[in-house]
Symmetry: C2
Subunit: 137 residues, 2 copies
């Protein structure tokens, strides 16, 4: 994709602070980090969303997420945990339409909040809904 | 793990509204959903965090995430996108210490917000930090 920022990073046309690279995957630091050590893992090939990724490339990406997350966790002194966030489509907050996994180190008092207000679903509603989903699997 | 809620669900000791099951993976609807169709994917074996998951089980889990997310997307009328969120350790909002992937359908005006305030990192700081991380890989 000519104009995709992540494709440009993969091609070396835009600089990036790389952490890790394997055959189909690249990891680099987010230039607009949510917290210190915020890293990204992307497939080198352009896929818009998670649903477009072939299984083998997804496997490789997730192994990179594990590897980079472990290294980041042992590099950020304050980090006691991390979130992996992967957003699909603009409505979900996806800014760059090239699949990416955020690895966000978390520490006490970091003022980040990825929680949500818990609803309480009716069991009957869940069951009805599950039938609908299973029909689409 | 005797007392783990997700292990109990896997063993059938606590009811769940299942969507999908494969050899090492189970998917079911979250009983306290962030949005309609909010689903979970878990490994059947107990692993505390993403870093503890063997590669093959992670691959199987992510294929289930793709499969369930696609089905959920075509079942929730309003959904135009989705977030995958996977949290590790209490500080990151992990409530149940058994690895789980949230699939959260998103629609316009859903009042969910998993974004963060973007910092702007100094390039020198990123480079210094990348060296540190690469030393731990």
């Amino acid at each position: 994709m000519d104009e995709c920022i992540f494709c440009k990073i993969v091609r070396g046309e835009i600089p990036s602070t790389n952490l890790f690279e394997s055959g189909n995957v690249l990891s680099f630091l987010d230039v607009m980090p949510a917290s210190k050590g915020h890293a990204l893992v992307i497939p080198k090939k352009h896929y818009s969303t998670l649903l477009d990724m072939p299984h083998e490339e997804l496997k490789e990406a997730m192994e990179a997420v594990q590897k980079v997350a472990a290294a980041v966790m042992s590099s950020v002194e304050a980090a006691e945990g991390f979130n992996v966030i992967q957003s699909n489509r603009e409505v979900a907050g996806q800014v760059i339409p090239h699949v990416h996994f955020h690895i966000i180190p978390r520490s006490r008092g970091d003022n980040l909040n990825f929680a949500w207000e818990h609803g309480k679903a009716e069991q009957k509603e869940l069951e009805k809904y599950a039938e609908l989903v299973k029909g689409k699997l």
